[in-house]
Symmetry: C2
DNA sequence: ACGATATTACGAGAAAGATCGTAAGGTCAA
DNA sequence: TTGACCTTACGATCTTTCTCGTAATATCGT
């Protein structure tokens, strides 16, 4: 995942409504939710909703599928994983105690040098 | 970590220059880097640099310290951890196979139930 | 105190983002 | 085909963000 994509995903999430939409979809899972339902839940008029949904779509954070006359949106976890990977990637490259605050997931997820456990 | 803070952190990172600055500081570690050096590295005039540094500071992503006439900035990992935690938190709440794409770091980071190692 | 260095504060202009109303594109039921 | 429904597309307006130049603040060496 390259920097522009990361920035895109970050920017897409960096908004009250879009974050709410995304979390809604993440909780809902692969089944997804129709645009109308999303709009109701987050309290957005249709045109504003589309605007934000498009932003999430452009960032690759959600997928779109048609079900008769409704459009179903669902979260795409892979981009989020890429994002988290990127964010924690260089996290522990500074040295020893740099990440004692707890960013261990990075070490586990990205640099399986020492304990090549999985 | 509450939603507004999350949005703040996400928004702070969702910019080419700020992301570059942040990564620079993450790589550098607790030692940090003087503002001037950062500006040189990312190619920003002083006033623009301050603008972005302030944004990162407001978001809690970096810390500021004075060293004689230089201001040293360093990454604050805790906010990033909170961010990653939040992002992956509900990730697996949808059901079983929802997160098979790999959002396991969340499980590792947030529920140290099984291997309470470290 | 003075000049030099390092950095931030302020203000203006340009660019991007958000919100909404209304119109248009598909899809369904009859 | 017609009318109703769900959703997106377009355009206008408003707000926020970004960038830069210049001025101000703080620290250092002499």
């Amino acid at each position: 995942m390259k920097t522009p994509e990361i920035i895109g995903a970050l920017g897409a999430l960096a908004h009250e409504h879009r974050l709410a939409i995304y979390r809604l979809l993440v909780e809902r899972g692969p089944q997804g939710l129709a645009a109308g339902v999303i709009g109701e839940r987050v309290g957005l008029v249709p045109s504003s909703l589309t605007f934000h949904l498009q932003a999430l779509l452009r960032a690759g954070l959600v997928r779109q599928a048609r079900a008769s006359r409704q459009l179903i949106y669902s979260a795409d976890f892979s981009v989020m994983n890429g994002l988290v990977g990127y964010l924690t990637d260089k996290c522990c490259s500074a040295g020893d105690g740099a990440c004692d605050t707890g960013c261990k997931p990075a070490a586990i997820a990205r640099s399986p040098r020492r304990k090549s456990a999985a």
